[in-house]
């Protein structure tokens, strides 16, 4: 039994200890009776269990702590620093004893004992002062009402009992027995107590255990058994009844005690004996009502009845009833463990009574195996009543005590579950009952793995199932839902509130602030946020380090803080919260912040970086230097430094968990460490990308944003810095990593590798730029290589720590929850992978390690945050014209888009319908008033206005302007989100002012739409509406092209492929065919061949609209019969070509 019980004991005790610290800290400086009681009970039940298991040192320590607590409970001492300190240290010691329970008896607790004892002595004069050496001098007969502050707990426990004695019980005695001697006289304690109970009430009884494991049987030496006995008998009679010589009987002043006086010092002092005297000396012995552990051993069978039963019976006023029937049910003080697990001790002490009264205790004990169980507790009163009569009368003990233990059982839950190492414990805390089951973590892990596999099977199944069949679809749907829920529930079993870890920090901060002589308070937010157990456990060290770091290096000393005008009390905030499927934990302090200069100096001094390297580093990168091994910026090496845990360990741990850490700091204001963690290690949300026909997963925690660059954007935004490719994302330069190149190069990139790659792409880019310049690909030549680039460049912006990189992938497939499988052991040295996973279709995909990728390519240390020198570095600015229409906004248009600026007088404007025209160059030009197109202020009325005539716009139109502001060179990096008016491309910052960049094409489109003016009208007026057949398989392009043409006055018929196009042609007449090349069923070239073969259609002009633009492609296309070849996506070019073609007779 021992091992199981000991394990159970330590588990339970650790549970209790986990709250101990927090409670003590809350108590500190702020007395709270409830809390003291709670702490008391925790220590008390540990003491009980320890005593029972023969864990002497543990018991002794708990005992002294309990004493101190009971003083606190009685109000003799206030929960001041020194007491809390001592108690906290005691708690720590207990915890470490629990960690190595088998050697706990060899641990040195003298320091703790000395500290606690000193406090007990120093604080209260009389009893406490005697408590270390009082065994011999105790029990002064007359000193009845002497304050016994050392043992207020006992008093509290017994007081209720004392105050409810029958009125004729005028005397209170302390009886001191030696059990061994009794045995000599062939008197069992049970008989003795039975006898006593015929004439009075046993208020309390304490077995003083020798420091020896009771399991080994009764010790042979002196064994003190103290009984507090209330009776109507006077001293003379009592000697007879109690079978004690008068020197072993102490009379106490019951009346005084009942009036609120103190319990006898004897009870207190006897306690000291327990602690310091292994076997009580002298005839007096030492007894303490506190030693419940041993009491339990004495009276185990009565346990089930304690609690409710005790007070009730004590309230029964009739003496007869009390004595005749049943002190025993009332008197079960034992806490369950003993009672349930220690039949041996029962036998040893109660052999006689048990055998003579077989019906009583045993069945009862088994009928209430777990004290906390609510249902069983509900039954207790009944049980008590039913079994009362059959109980063996005499059991030493005190109802008060029973009550106390019941507290322990209720509040702190049973110290042991059931005997025999069962893993189930039912808890009851406070009013509401929470049922919990202990489960081996290995089982949970297994469940987790299985759930992961089920998820994968589900994914495959759902994909495989015939979705056209309603039954299988419903089944798949059901399975989908259930699997998800199951997986979530199983994950939930592993989730634990971060409060479990956060809880230790008030203590850490408190201790640190005292040793550092700083004033620091800690605020905890989000304790309830839950994290996977494994992650939480791994977080303890990094969190501790960060908090320590904040105390040590972050928060300044009170003097400095005062000088700086800060609150002398620094604050650390621990904050946990959910964000986007991750858990964020912030450790924020309002201290000095990280000083870049200091960090740099240190890095230099430590030889971590060279001066040149430092000069190139951004602030953020400098902050991350503190994560380098062996970094400390604090000038004085404090007590806390050099503990062997560095900030580098923090980073390593967080990385290992698949998380990320960020540092934000404001010099003088404070520092925030932000840890981003996955909810669980096993299943993580990831971005799925594709390159070279293989899919790869990138943990979402590393993904910052996704960018797709189209066509000529690519050549504009991809730049070269030495041997590196960079992408300008807003104000940052991102190093570019091309996944296909990474995968193709097994060896870590050398500068040569990078140059080689860069050169390749740069050449392609040049070609692309050339192509872009030459009128949008209408002229061909060497476009083959550019083709790929022309399409789309997908960039996943990834981050790790302070670094950002852009990963170029072929496709971005979306987010997916993936089940992480570790890399095969032989593959772990491949830095680019973090693991593997099985995708929905059953294929394995590798999980990319972002940091590994950037190391592999050597781009890890590259530029960022370069906003300040944007202009000089970039050198690619565009002149824009700034102008105003209304008084409020400033608009911008690139000069390159403006044909010229006309002065006009408002009087010149003619109105036709709802449109206004002026004649410019003998052409009626639509006047565009910006406030009619978007929500902006209306025009400043002037006699002379301006008209901006745009280039490249077919529709004769001009934008009315009230004043011209300036021409500025600006970087056309738009903030496109900021302004979403239709007709505005985005906003720019010019001289710190926001200007709106006008979208001329959009304005033109809107002007042309539904108007009878404009180009379309011109076409129509000549010949009626021209009919265009648009053949295109992609709905998006089909509609784009068609509506663009429709807006410009053409009638459009759409077809999805060549065959459909041919049949449309046969249905009516067309002026033009616009066709894609690559289409299903029949491609564009085949269709055009057919058209050219047809007598009816061969004269209809045809334009190929395609993304195939290499010279070979083009030749092929033209050979098939198309009249013209256009690259997709250029609306203006398209319109121009269409109009030109139709204009030619």
């Amino acid at each position: 039994m021992d091992e199981d019980i000991i394990i159970e004991f330590t588990i339970e005790a650790k549970d209790h200890l986990s709250t101990l610290e927090e409670d003590l800290l809350r108590l500190e400086g702020q007395m709270d009776g409830e809390l003291v009681n709670k702490v008391f009970r925790v220590i008390h039940s540990i003491k009980g269990g320890a005593a029972f298991l023969g864990l002497v040192k543990l018991k002794d320590l708990a005992h002294v702590m309990e004493t101190l607590l009971s003083m606190m409970r009685a109000g003799d001492i206030r929960p001041e620093h020194q007491y809390i300190d001592a108690l906290l240290q005691g708690g720590d010691m207990i915890a470490s004893m629990m960690d190595d329970i088998h050697h706990s008896n060899e641990m040195d607790i003298s320091r703790n004992l000395a500290l606690l004892t000193a406090l007990l002595n120093g604080e209260s004069q009389s009893p406490s002062s005697t408590w270390a050496h009082s065994a011999a001098t105790a029990y002064p007969q007359t000193d009845v009402a002497a304050p016994a502050s050392g043992l207020k707990g006992v008093e509290a426990m017994a007081r209720y009992e004392l105050n409810h004695l029958p009125p004729n019980y005028r005397f209170l005695y302390l009886l001191k027995y030696d059990l061994n001697q009794l045995e000599h006289q062939r008197i069992t304690p049970v008989t003795l107590l039975k006898e006593l109970l015929t004439q009075g009430e046993v208020v309390d009884g304490v077995l003083v255990p020798p420091t020896q494991d009771l399991r080994l049987g009764l010790p042979s030496g002196h064994m003190a058994f103290d009984v507090l006995f209330a009776t109507w008998l006077d001293m003379d009679f009592l000697e007879v009844l109690a079978r004690l010589p008068s020197e072993n009987i102490t009379q106490l002043d019951l009346a005084a005690i009942q009036k609120g006086g103190r319990l006898p010092a004897e009870l207190d002092t006897s306690l000291s004996d327990l602690v310091f005297v292994s076997a009580p000396s002298g005839s007096a012995g030492a007894g303490s009502p506190e030693t419940r552990g041993s009491v339990q051993a004495v009276a185990p069978q009565s346990r089930p009845l304690r609690g409710d039963a005790a007070p009730r019976i004590n309230q029964t006023p009739t003496k007869g009833r009390l004595s005749d029937e049943i002190r025993s049910p009332a008197s079960g003080p034992s806490s369950l463990p003993l009672q349930e697990m220690k039949p041996d001790s029962q036998t040893s002490l109660f052999a006689h009574s048990l055998s003579s009264q077989p019906e009583a205790p045993v069945p009862m004990a088994s009928s209430t195996p777990v004290s906390g169980n609510p249902s069983e507790r509900r039954n207790e009163p009944n049980l008590t009543e039913i079994t009362k009569p059959s109980l063996p009368g005499p059991v030493p003990i005190v109802p008060k005590e029973a009550e106390e233990i019941d507290f322990a059982g209720r509040g702190a839950n049973s110290l042991f579950g059931k005997a025999g190492g069962q893993t189930t414990a039912v808890q009851r805390s406070g009013g509401d009952s929470v049922e919990t089951v202990r489960i081996n973590v290995a089982i949970l892990d297994k469940l987790m793995t299985l759930a992961g596999e089920l998820v994968l099977l589900r994914n495959r199944f759902v994909r495989w199932v015939d979705k056209t069949n309603p039954v299988s679809r419903a089944l798949a749907h059901g399975m989908d839902i259930v699997t998800t829920e199951m997986q979530e529930s199983i994950m939930a079993t592993r989730m634990q509130p971060v409060g479990n870890v956060f809880g230790k920090f008030p203590r850490v901060v408190r201790d640190l602030s005292r040793s550092l002589q700083k004033e620091i308070k800690i605020t905890i937010i989000g304790s309830e946020v839950e994290l996977d157990k494994a992650i939480l456990e791994a977080l303890v060290d990094p969190l501790t380090h960060l908090v320590r770091n904040s105390c040590d290096h972050g928060i300044e000393s009170p003097e400095i803080r005062r000088q700086k005008g800060k609150n002398p009390e620094g604050e650390i905030v621990l904050h946990a919260y959910h964000q986007g499927g991750q858990i964020n934990i912030e450790i924020q302090d309002d201290g000095a912040g990280i000083q870049v200069g200091k960090v740099k100096a240190k890095a230099l001094q430590r030889g971590l970086k060279t001066e040149a390297e430092l000069a190139e580093m951004t602030e953020r990168e400098v902050y991350f230097l503190i994560m380098q091994p062996g970094f400390s910026t604090n000038e004085e090496v404090s007590e806390l430094s050099g503990r062997g845990v560095g900030m580098d360990v923090v980073k390593t741990t967080i990385d290992g968990l698949g998380g990320d850490i960020e540092i934000k700091t404001i010099p003088g204001k404070g520092t925030t460490f932000l840890m981003k963690l996955p909810l669980t290690l096993a299943i993580i949300p990831s971005l799925i990308v594709e390159t070279g026909d293989e899919r790869y997963a990138i943990p979402q925690v590393n993904v910052e944003e996704l960018v797709s660059l189209y066509a000529d954007e690519i050549s504009k935004k991809i730049e070269y810095a030495g041997d590196r490719e960079v992408y300008r994302l807003r104000d940052r330069l991102l190093p570019i990593i091309r996944l296909n190149e990474v995968l193709a190069h097994r060896q870590t990139f050398t500068p040569e590798t990078r140059l080689e790659i860069i050169e390749r792409y740069r050449r392609e880019m040049e070609t692309l730029k050339d192509a872009a310049r030459t009128d949008h690909g209408a002229s061909g030549g060497g476009m083959g290589e550019v083709k790929r680039l022309l399409s789309i460049l997908n960039i996943a912006v990834l981050k790790f720590g302070a670094n950002r990189v852009g990963l170029v992938v072929e496709k971005i497939l979306g987010m997916e929850e993936i089940v992480v499988k570790p890399m095969h052991p032989t593959m772990k040295k491949l830095a680019c992978y973090a693991g593997a996973t099985v995708m929905g279709d059953g294929k394995v995909a590798l999980i990319l390690d972002v940091q590994g990728l950037s190391r592999h390519t050597g781009v890890a240390a590259l530029v960022e945050d370069m906003e300040e020198d944007t202009k000089t570095q970039r050198g690619e600015t565009t002149p824009v014209l700034l102008f105003k229409y209304g008084p409020a906004e400033t608009f911008a248009l690139p000069l390159s888009l403006i044909k010229r600026i006309e002065r006009i007088a408002p009087a010149q404007i003619e109105k036709v319908g709802d449109r206004e025209y002026v004649t410019v160059d003998k052409t009626s030009t639509v006047v565009i008033r910006v406030d009619e197109y978007m929500n902006v202020s209306s025009a400043v009325q002037k006699d002379e206005m301006f008209l901006l005539l745009p280039k490249h716009i077919r529709l004769p139109m001009g934008i009315m302007v009230s004043s011209l502001v300036d021409i500025e060179e600006v970087d056309l990096n738009l903030n496109q989100k900021a302004h979403v008016e239709d007709g505005i491309m985005g906003t720019l910052l010019v001289e710190d002012k926001m200007v709106l960049l006008m979208d001329l094409h959009r304005m033109a489109e809107r002007t042309g739409k539904g108007s009878s003016a404009g180009m379309g009208a011109a076409v129509q007026s000549r010949q009626g509406k021209k009919r265009v057949l648009v053949v295109e398989d992609t709905p998006f392009f089909r509609n784009l092209v068609a509506s663009h043409l429709e807006q410009n006055g053409f009638e459009v018929v759409r077809a999805e492929n060549g065959r459909e196009g041919l049949s449309r042609l046969n249905e009516s007449t067309f002026d033009l065919v616009l066709s894609d090349i690559q289409m299903p069923v029949m491609d564009g070239m085949e269709m055009v061949k057919q058209i050219k073969l047809s007598q009816f259609h061969k004269d209809i002009p045809s334009i190929a609209l395609t993304s195939l633009d290499s010279s070979q492609d083009k030749e092929k296309i033209m050979a098939s019969g198309f009249d013209q070849h256009l690259v997709k996506l250029d609306k203006a070019e398209l319109l121009r070509a269409v109009q030109q073609t139709l204009a030619t007779p």
Partner: protein, 157 residues
């Protein structure tokens, strides 16, 4: 060295397979299963012997290309190709790609000649990794080269 499975004292059982038109065998007790799963996920940067990852019923296995390991020219998986997956005690979740599986061979113990007893390089020319071959076994006019899968993963070290 792997324990050889002895049917009775004198017979050992080999799972046989073909590779580059040669017959090989491994102790059948080392084999967990043989599968036709051929959907490899390449692990770029891995040694050339690594064929890739496969998923077999939700578990991920690392597959080695036995041809490469034994110094044969690489071949593309065919419809006859199979994966021989080994038990965990042989090495962590791995298997090898073979051209074709053959019968289980019951080899009389005395037909086995262990490596130490024949000349290095006799079985295979240019074998790049030592210790993969346990020995050979001559049976009814065919020669079975017995491999020692315990050493397979060591190739990657």
């Amino acid at each position: 060295m792997a324990q050889l499975a002895l049917l009775n004292e004198n017979i050992l059982q080999l799972a046989s397979f073909r590779l580059a038109d040669r017959l090989f065998g491994v102790n059948i007790l080392d084999v967990r299963e043989i599968t036709r799963e051929m959907e490899f996920t390449p692990v770029f940067h891995s040694p050339p012997e690594v064929k890739g990852y496969v998923n077999i019923r939700g578990k991920v296995y690392l597959i080695l290309d036995l041809r490469t390991m034994l110094g044969f020219p690489p071949g593309e998986p065919s419809s006859m190709s199979r994966l021989v997956i080994f038990k965990p005690e042989v090495g962590e979740s791995f298997g090898v790609l073979v051209d074709q599986v053959g019968d289980i061979i019951n080899a009389p113990a005395d037909s086995v000649e262990y490596r130490a007893e024949f000349n290095e390089g006799q079985a295979l020319q240019g074998e790049p990794h030592k210790n993969l071959i346990l020995g050979e076994c001559k049976l009814n006019n065919q020669l079975v080269i017995m491999l020692n899968p315990v050493n397979f993963l060591k190739v990657l070290e």
